[in-house]
Symmetry: C2
Subunit: 533 residues, 2 copies
């Protein structure tokens, strides 16, 4: 059915860098390279410009994406020692909603001299939080009009999503908004650059559109009447500024154009899959093709993804999108806004040299952290409260507590936050029966996985790949190239762990009662923080 | 009226050391010395004995007090370059309730070979927390019987007080309790050693008895009927184990006996005042002779002392004692359990090198600490909740916060805690109209004083003496020796700051609204912590 000498390329775009991973169609990882973005996150001031940015801003440079991805691909091919001709497909996962305005030919507005010094002409990174006012209005109007899309998003549109970010520019930098012919996700823009074409046929991923663009296959995008009620000038934004063709991840968006083939050192015409959101790529990357498996993509923040045969609108669950992750299932997205980020913040806050030292001490503290209770909303609460303005807390503090007590309570808080999410899904009628952890965090922080297993009372498998999303992207590249007959077949061949390669963390049931009480306290303190923010 | 060549000695007993201060009767500080206690705080194991102590224990060695005080006095006389004959009076302030059991001749039980290895035969330091069970019962029975003394103590007897500590020994080490002829405060014991005499005439300070011994001039100590209800064997403890004569601070307890005169290098017969609690000595030491002046004695913990012409039972105020601080006034004691202690804890928690660095950064953060809210109960809440088991918290935390945000919010929390105390006093009908800060903290941490002034909306004077309690003790020594006709005269002459010597911190009223909102949030978070501890 497939030839193991066939190789696919997964490009995994993170917040600071891109990874290129080469995998053969039996799932052997042949080579890999990470290249940081030259401008990283743009949060202080614009490139080549003294204009400083407000604190809520987080931007990126579009040229970084192409340059870093090309360099990483060349390095990965070199490290894999393969011929570029062996590469039959390319998959792309990208942070989302990272988005930008372009001209009709795809040129980012920020690269035009007229707009180079206008912050809102630059790509907005997923974590850009400039659209609070707009988000509030988008939600108010939707609630007032009882828009049905709200149910698919747990009752609230997020501050980081596509329409709020567009509306921010319309209202705060109207000239930029007017000059833009196209607004699109960065992942779609990147794929568009690879496959060429014109604006009218630009590929838009159903994944990004479904989870961040308020789109679904039945209803399409929000109606003109709704958008007009939000802002009259916003009424025809979909028709005017969002051209393109919706394509599911794993379906081909086109073949590699000559200029890009040369730049990346790849064969012209190589199939390129429609993009997928980075966390969502973690699902095929973690070997999860069956419904009911929660894939925890754990990094600076965490996304917990689930395929299900059930369509249920669960209050607080950020998105349920048909075929959003894998064809044939309802894909659920939930998330926690600060995980590895929060651990690292606490490390800096306590002046600890590294997390290993804190972890070693924290492992010696009994469940419950000697009375210290944390609520992990240091970057807001994503699921289920969908409120970026919420903040975190530590309670139960006494003079004998040390940094390791704070750290352990933070790990416990993160696990308690996930417990809440799982209870919501189950209570909402969505079965969750298997747990796979992937992403960078589980590999270098075994304590957090054990605390999760103990707090959830569930076994957790850590997927052996250290590049789960990149592997998932590669699988989509293989699907786009037609190597496999179905996603399930591709996942079985490429990412279900070989026997003995995955670590399993079993729950210690002795701490069950402590964690049950702690969960009640966590929810109560959370309620207080929510009602007094 | 007085001869400025007359000198008085103030002995200020702290937790780790004793200070001897020599002052002339015009208030000029002539010399001073600090000598640490050889055994410090005994918290791990008993001296010359392998027996290790439970975590709640904190003991002291009675010989340390005499030896360190004698050495400090000799050193202070040397540094002052005066003749010992010039010293006309001695005042003593002491931590409280630090207390011990002795034989009828004053010999501490712990110095007898039969009891040297019994922890509860040793002096218990004020912070010894072994009597939780006993304290709970003492309060339950008092509430059930509606004992009137409860009203004088804000509704609750403290874990650190005299009767709980006696009862702990009765119930946990009955042989020690039986062998004790006398139980008394360490300050009283020290004065008794200086002036000699027999058990029946041993001097007991009305200050210690009033604030820590549930005594007042009208009702005396708690009744036999009440004590019997607490524990039948405790019924006659006052009659059997608490002989002595109650004397107010500033009145003479007697003259120095020859052996002690020799040991201290002082004149035989020198007048010795009855003892006073260390924080309470801060009131005369701070130049506060008028009613309505709050003297904030700020150190590892803080005591806020106030004289008033009004007798009001204010819920949560730890003690109101007639003549408890100065004759002629009702003395109010309130306190905060963790102040400098908490600052230092946070310094260690954040790995900061010193508080100066944190202070410099915190001073640059606007009032409200960018949304970080702290409740300062890291060692429980003294006034007004009188609950040592309460714990502290930080809320409103986000990933961009740094140690200086925590630190500033901690300073603000400390100030908000004091604001609560002042509101309680005023609402209870006790006027508070002037604010003097003394103790070690205000001199080396100007930021905390400014934050207090801003949060309270009141000017705060920092008293120039760096040895406020020792100066207060010296004033009591002068009163005992008969140099002055009244406490007010002594204070006017010796501790009211000379013009231009005291620093005044004026409130910045711009932050009034921020702090009003913050106070409401502080109270709400406190309510949550209280109801969910």
């Amino acid at each position: 059915m497939c030839d193991a000498s066939q190789v696919v390329l997964g490009l995994d775009f993170g917040t600071e860098s891109v990874r290129a991973l080469l995998v053969d169609v039996s799932g052997n990882e042949l080579g890999s390279a990470v290249v940081p973005f030259a401008h990283g996150q743009i949060v202080d001031r614009l490139p080549n410009c003294d204009r400083s940015l407000p604190p809520a801003y987080a931007l990126q440079h579009p040229s970084d994406w192409i340059e870093a991805a090309a360099k990483a691909t060349v390095l990965a091919i070199r490290s894999a020692k393969i011929e570029a001709n062996a590469i039959v497909g390319i998959g792309v996962d990208f942070t989302s909603c990272t988005m930008l305005p372009t001209k009709a030919d795809g040129t980012p507005l920020c690269l035009l001299s007229d707009f180079a010094d206008e912050p809102l002409a630059w790509p907005k990174l997923w974590k850009h939080h400039g659209a609070q006012k707009q988000t509030d209005r988008i939600n108010e109007v939707a609630r007032a009009r009882n828009e049905s899309f709200l149910n698919r998003y747990g009752g609230a549109i997020g501050l980081e999503w596509f329409f709020p970010k567009m509306l921010e520019t319309l209202e705060c930098a109207p000239k930029v908004y007017q000059a833009a012919d196209v607004w699109l996700e960065a992942g779609d823009w990147f794929v568009w650059q690879l496959v060429g074409g014109r604006a009218i046929s630009l590929p838009r991923s159903t994944c990004q559109a479904g989870y961040k663009g308020m789109w679904n296959a039945t209803d399409g995008y929000p109606s003109e009447a709704y958008l007009k009620a939000v802002n009259p000038k916003f009424a025809s934004v979909v028709k005017d500024k969002m051209p393109g063709q919706l394509i599911p991840p794993g379906k081909t968006a086109g073949g590699l154009v000559p200029a890009m083939a040369k730049r990346f050192g790849l064969r012209e015409g190589t199939s390129v899959s429609a993009a997928i959101i980075d966390a969502h790529a973690g699902v095929p990357g973690a070997g999860a093709s069956a419904p009911g498996t929660l894939v925890m993509v754990m990094g600076t923040s965490s996304c917990h993804m689930l395929n299900s045969t059930k369509e249920r609108n669960v209050p607080g669950v950020a998105g349920v999108v048909k075929d959003g992750i894998l064809p044939g299932f309802y894909g659920y997205e939930t998330g926690q806004a600060a995980v590895g980020d929060a651990f690292d913040w606490l490390r800096k806050m306590t002046g600890a040299v590294n997390l290993k030292q804190l972890s070693a001490e924290a492992a010696g503290i009994a469940p419950g952290s000697d009375g210290v209770l944390c609520v992990d909303w240091f970057n807001g609460c994503r699921t289920p409260l969908m409120d970026g303005k919420l903040r975190g807390a530590f309670a139960g503090l006494a003079l004998h507590h040390r940094p390791a007590h704070l750290y352990r309570s933070l790990l416990e808080a993160s696990a308690l936050g996930l417990r809440w999410i799982i209870e919501l899904l189950r209570e909402g009628g969505v079965p969750v029966n298997k747990f796979i952890a992937t992403g960078g965090l589980p590999h270098h922080n075994p304590l957090v996985v054990q605390v999760y297993a103990d707090v959830l009372g569930e076994s957790i498998m850590v997927h052996p790949s250290k590049h789960g999303p990149a592997l998932g992207a590669a699988i989509l590249g293989a699907l786009a190239s037609g190597v496999f007959s179905s996603p399930a077949a591709a996942i079985r061949a490429m990412s279900v762990p070989k026997p003995g390669t995955a670590e399993l963390y079993k729950p210690n049931r002795k701490s069950r009662k402590v964690y049950n009480n702690l969960y009640a306290d966590y929810r109560k303190l959370g309620d207080h923080l929510k009602s007094h923010r």
